[in-house]
Symmetry: C2
Subunit: 380 residues, 2 copies
C-alpha cells in the first residue's frame, strides 16, 4: 500500500500553488474586520459574543477573544466541545440541547466550564437538564430562547416566556441569566431602513419580555442577539447587552447584496473569504473550474462571484464543476490558471472544508483547521 | 484544557443513541443494492467501474471490488490518493488533471499504480502530462473525455476528438485507452422512455466517435459512461464497455422521483442512506429538527423526505435547523425523538459528514470514515 505523503508542501509559499478547490482567508482583511467590530462594540458599550458557527475554528475564536469578545457563541454541542478543548471559554450554546446524547455531553462541558450558557424554550427540556445535572452537584446558567419572528425554535414572547422563567426558577441546578433573541429572518433584509425597522420591531418584543420578567422578580442580566446585518442597528435598543454577529469576519455574496447604511453594496466589512479554483477546461465560449456544488454553499438562489474578474457568470455544473459563461470577460482566462470566488453564503461554505489557507497578499502564511463535519463526535 | 473524550460510546449499540445530525447507512439495503448491480452487469456482460464520488469511502469501494467491479471511478486527485492508500486499484480519474499541484500528485499516483486512467480533453493538457512523466520513465493510459451534450468538460465528438487522439499518439508516455462519455444531463430526466431516448441519442455520438477513431487506427478498448438513471438503458448501446453508476448504492429523493422502467417511483434500488436528526423544538403546529442546510445538500429545488413518517413537510430553516410543517402527520411527533430523512441528493450530502454509521435494523454495526473535504491534501 502507498503510504507516502500526498503533497510535498515545504516549497509551497504562494497562493497559486495551493491544491484546488480550497478555502482561502485574506489575513489583512480578516484582521481589519475583527478590529472594526471590536472598536465598534467598545464605542457603543455593547458586549460582543461572536458566533463561531461561521468559522468553526479555534484559531479565529481566540483572535476574537484577544480583541475583547465577552465569549463565543456556538450552535452545536460538537462546536462547544471543540472550542473548549481549544481553551475557548465563555461559551453560549445557541441551539437547544434536547435528548441524549446531547444532554450527557453538555453535562461534561458545564462540569469543566461552569460559565457555559445554554438556551431553553421548553419546560420539559428544563426538567431533563435539571435531572441530568442534579446528582452531579453541577449548576449552570440558561437563557430563554425567544421567538421574535423567525418561526424556528424559541418560546413566544410575553406570558409563555414568563411561565418558562417561573419553571426555570424551580429547577434548583439551573439559573436564569437572561434572554437570547435572534432575529434570523431580519438579518438579510435588503435595504438598510427596511432592515432597521424590522429589527427594531422584532427586538422590541424581547425588551418587553425582559421588562415583564424583571417585574416578576426574575434576573435578566443578558439580552443577546443581532446578526452581521443588524450589528449597527440593534445597539439602538435600550437593554440589548450583547451582539452575536458571526459573518462579519468573512462576508459573502448574500451579505454584500443587502446594502449598507450608505450605499447599495454592504461594505462595512471586507470580503476576506474566497474559494480558489483551477480552470480545468477552456473552449471558445466557456471555461470550467474545478469548484462545484461540493465547493460552495448552494442554499441561495445565486452563485459565487469572481473576486478579481468581471464580465463572467458562474453557473453550478455538478459536484466538482463550475461553468464560467463569458459575457464580456475583463481579461483572457487561460487553461490551468487559478481563479478566486466569493462564496454565496459563508457559514455553509466553510462547513465544506477541512482547513483555511491563510494568505497575506499572495503568500500563504498559515493554515488553520476547521472542525469536523456534522454529527461531530471526535472520539466516538 | 479539557482533553477528555467527547462521548463515551462503548455503550452505543442502538441507532437512537447516535449523536445527531448524523449519516446512517442501512447495511441490508446497501448490500442488496450492491448485489443487484453486480448481478445486472454480470448478466449484461458489461463491466462496472462504480463512481466513488458518491461515497468517498474506502470500505464501500472494497465491497464493490469484492463483488466484481473492474475498478473504481474517482472525480478528484484527493479521492484517487485516498483510494490508493486504502489499497483500491483500477482507478479512473474522471476529472481533467490540469495545472499544478494536480499533475505532480498524479505523477506520484501513476508511478505507484500504472493502471490508473485519466481523462483528457485538451492537447495542451496532453503536452503538460507528457512533459511531467517523460523524465520519470513512467507510462500511463488516458481516455478522451467526450462532451456528448452535458456542456461541461470534454472535447466535441467527431473530428475534434480524432485530432486529440492523434495528438495523444504523439505523446510517447501516454497511451490512448478509449473514451469516457458521461451524459450527466440525462441522468435525472423524469420518465423512463424520455430518459432512454436522450441517453441513446447522446451515446450514439460516442459510438460514432469510437468508430471514427478505430477507422484511423487508434485503439479504443474502453467506452465508459452511464449513470444510475441509465444503468439499464446504456448497455443497449453496442460498444459501451463499462458503467460508471455511483448513486445506486444509496439512492436519494431526486433519483426516486425520476421514475423507473415500471412505475412512477424509481425503485430499482432501495434508499439505504438517511440523516438521523433529533426533534429539538415542538409547539402546536410545528416541530424543529437539528438538521438544516449543513446536514443536507441544498442544490435541488426540493428538501429531504421523512423515512418513516408521512403527512409532514420538511423546510430548511437555517444552518442547523429544519422545520417540519404538519399537514396531516401519520403519528405524533415528540420532543427529543429521533427522525430519519432521505437526503435530496446523495453525493453532496455525504460530502457534509465525516463518517457513516452503519446499521442493521436498529443496531449500529460499524462506522466507516468518509474522506476529507474539498481541497483534500491529508498531509499538506
Amino acid at each position: 500500500l502507498w503510504t507516502g505523503p500526498v503533497v510535498n508542501c515545504d516549497s509551497v509559499k504562494k497562493i497559486h500553488a495551493l491544491p484546488t478547490p480550497c478555502l482561502v482567508v485574506d489575513l489583512d482583511r480578516l484582521e481589519s474586520n475583527l478590529d472594526k467590530m471590536s472598536r465598534f462594540t467598545e464605542e457603543r458599550r455593547v458586549a460582543l459574543r461572536p458566533h463561531a458557527k461561521t468559522h468553526k475554528c479555534v484559531n479565529i475564536a481566540r483572535k476574537q477573544l484577544e480583541r475583547g469578545a465577552a465569549g463565543i457563541c456556538v450552535a452545536t454541542i460538537a462546536e462547544a466541545e471543540v472550542m473548549l478543548r481549544g481553551g475557548v471559554r465563555g461559551l453560549l450554546i445557541t441551539g437547544e440541547m434536547v435528548g441524549e446524547p446531547k444532554i450527557s455531553r453538555l453535562t461534561r462541558i458545564v462540569k469543566e466550564a461552569p460559565e457555559t450558557l445554554v438556551v431553553v424554550d421548553n419546560s420539559q427540556n428544563v426538567d431533563d437538564l435539571q435531572n441530568a445535572v442534579r446528582n452531579a452537584g453541577i449548576h449552570f446558567g440558561v437563557l430563554i430562547d425567544l421567538d421574535i419572528g423567525q418561526n424556528r425554535t424559541g418560546i413566544q414572547p410575553g406570558e409563555p416566556a414568563l411561565r418558562l422563567a417561573e419553571h426555570i426558577s424551580n429547577a434548583k441546578s439551573l439559573t436564569l441569566k437572561g434572554i437570547c433573541a435572534y432575529a434570523g429572518h431580519v438579518a438579510h433584509i435588503a435595504g438598510f431602513e427596511q432592515r432597521r425597522a424590522s429589527s427594531l420591531r422584532a427586538l422590541t418584543q424581547a425588551v418587553e419580555t425582559r421588562n415583564l420578567l424583571l417585574k416578576h422578580g426574575h434576573d435578566v442580566q443578558l439580552l443577546t442577539g443581532a446578526s452581521t446585518g443588524t450589528y449597527n442597528i440593534d445597539p439602538e435598543i435600550d437593554g440589548l447587552t450583547e451582539l452575536q454577529s458571526g459573518s462579519y469576519i468573512f462576508m459573502d455574496v448574500e451579505y454584500r447584496r443587502i446594502g449598507g447604511s450608505s450605499g447599495k453594496v454592504y461594505e462595512d466589512f471586507s470580503p476576506s473569504l474566497s474559494v480558489l479554483s483551477t480552470v480545468i477546461h477552456r473552449s471558445s465560449n466557456k471555461a470550467v473550474v474545478d469548484a462545484g456544488l461540493k465547493a460552495f454553499s448552494t442554499d441561495r438562489p445565486f452563485g459565487p462571484e469572481p473576486l478579481e474578474l468581471s464580465g463572467v457568470q458562474y453557473e453550478f455544473a455538478g459536484d466538482e464543476h463550475g461553468r464560467l459563461v463569458m459575457d464580456s470577460p475583463s481579461r483572457d482566462i487561460r487553461l490551468g490558471e487559478k481563479l478566486r470566488f466569493i462564496p454565496p453564503h459563508c457559514d455553509p461554505t466553510v462547513n465544506l472544508y477541512d482547513r483555511f489557507f491563510c494568505v497575506r497578499g499572495d503568500v500563504v502564511e498559515d493554515e488553520w483547521p476547521i472542525m469536523e463535519r456534522a454529527g461531530g463526535a471526535p472520539h466516538f
